[in-house]
Structure formats: structure tokens, C-alpha cells
Symmetry: C2
Subunit: 158 residues, 2 copies
């Protein structure tokens, strides 16, 4: 028979009040929604969309830069980009002065898909942001940053 309370004297915190859990659920729901919209509007995956935005913003980028900016796993970027290359969404060329780096840019097809997904995604973003006041938005990002700082701190202690 199991003990009644394995942690004597410990107050029980419901999982719904845990930052990790709530954040995970929110993240999953947001990602699922974005994925659905992208699929319907353009056939893009969420990661493809993010990469397209990165490239579009910079005009031309490298994988390592995207990894630095977004902290996404480099393997994932590499694979996604490879797939996008095969689909003709992006074009890549080797840097002359450093043969390790590949510059990637949008093709017309890539730009077209970006364009197709844009309206719905933009509207979604606006609605999400507009559901919060300016202060709330700021506070939200601020809090996220604080939590990430604490994660860094804890990881540094190891």
C-alpha cells in the first residue's frame, strides 16, 4: 500500500499553478494553431515559416546566424532548410571567402508562399497581441525574460 503522503509537511501545489506546465500547455496550443493556419493557407510548417521570416527579414542569411538569433537547434535548421531547398522555396550559394558558410535567400516560390500565409498569420498575431494591453504585453515579455534569466542562472550553477 502506498503512503498517504510521501512528502510529510509539504504543501501540495496543483500542477495547473506551475509555470512549466502552464507554459508548456500554452506553447503547445499556440504552436498547434499556427501549424493549422499555415497548413491551410500555404502548406508551410511552423519551422519553415519561421525560417522564411528570418531570411525575408535579413534578405540573405546563414544557418549559424539563424541559430544564434533564435536558439533553435542547428540540426533542425539544417534539415528544414534542406527540405525547403528541395521544394524550391529557398536558394543557397556558398560564400566565396569562407567555404563553410552557405548564404540562403528566398526564391519567388518561397516569397509567394510567405505572401500567402502572411495575411492570416498577421491577423492572428494582431488578435493575440490585441487581447492584451500594451502594459500586459510588455510585462509578459519581461516576465519571460526573467524566467529565462533564472534558468540561465540555475544552469550555470551546475
Amino acid at each position: 500500500m502506498a503512503k498517504d503522503n510521501p512528502i510529510p509537511g509539504s504543501e501540495l501545489v496543483p500542477i495547473q499553478q506551475m509555470i512549466t506546465f502552464r507554459t508548456a500547455r500554452l506553447s503547445a496550443r499556440l504552436a498547434a494553431q499556427a501549424a493549422r493556419i499555415l497548413k491551410e493557407s500555404s502548406g508551410l510548417t511552423l519551422m519553415q515559416w519561421r525560417i522564411l521570416i528570418q531570411i525575408h527579414g535579413k534578405g540573405s542569411t546563414t544557418q549559424s546566424e539563424m541559430v544564434r538569433l533564435t536558439q533553435v537547434d542547428k540540426a533542425q535548421v539544417s534539415r528544414t532548410l534542406k527540405h525547403m531547398l528541395e521544394q524550391g522555396l529557398v536558394a543557397s550559394e556558398v560564400n566565396e571567402s569562407d567555404h563553410r558558410v552557405h548564404f540562403v535567400r528566398l526564391t519567388d516560390k518561397g516569397a509567394d508562399l510567405l505572401q500567402r500565409a502572411w495575411p492570416t498569420m498577421t491577423e492572428r498575431r494582431k488578435r493575440l497581441h490585441n487581447s492584451l494591453s500594451a502594459k500586459e504585453q510588455e510585462a509578459f515579455f519581461d516576465t519571460i525574460q526573467k524566467i529565462e534569466a533564472m534558468i540561465d542562472e540555475m544552469e550555470d550553477e551546475r
Copy 2:
């Protein structure tokens, strides 16, 4: 050649300012940290930990109740629970009055692992929460709720 800007007149919002992206990254980091701690302290996975907490909190539960409370995919709960049953972390018995439902409870082994992971996980939770003021915490959960409400609203429109 790709167009310079596929969306004429659209202001470019950096991905780092997008709720979905920031939330996803935070969630991934929190989950990774929790997973690491659990692995080191008890060998539990994050999902196992969550399920153990649920069962511990209720004393005895069913899968469907956990699904209702946490909104986790029921397939995942089923699989995780199956594995935990094999490992002897939980015991289950069929409900007499409704043969579809299985009540699950902790075994001594399950309670023991919960106990082992508890201190570190509790300290982590406290540090995370203490890195925010009471107001910030409240605001954070509040904001999450608002965003989820907006997701619900948007999904309802489909």
C-alpha cells in the same frame, strides 16, 4: 530573383517579439531543465512526474480525469501510464460499477520516486516563482489565461 518585400507596406515584426515563438522557446527550456533534474534525481520523465503528482494529489484517479484536468493528449496518458504500470510505479484496478474506467494509485515504489524527485523539483519551482514578484506571477498566469481564451475564441470561429 525573389522580390525585395513580398508584403508591400507590411511592417516586419521580428520573430523574437512574437508570442508564439517566445513562449515556445521558454517552454522548451523549462521542459528541458525539468527533464534533466528528474532524470538525475529519480529517473522519471516529465510526463511521469506530472502523472505521479496528479495521482498523489487525488489519492486515486482515472485517465479521463487527468485528461480533463490537464488537457494532455489521452493517448499520451495511456501510454505513459502503461509504462509506469510495467515499472511498478502505479497500480490500477478496474472500477466495479463501470468497467471502462481504471482507477490508478501510487505504489510504494512510485511514492518513493516521487519523494526522491520532490526536493529538487520543489526548490526549482520556488526559485522560478521567487524570481518573480507576487504581482508578476499573478499577471503572468493571468496573461496566459487571456491568451488561451483568445485561442479558444479563434478556434470557435472556424
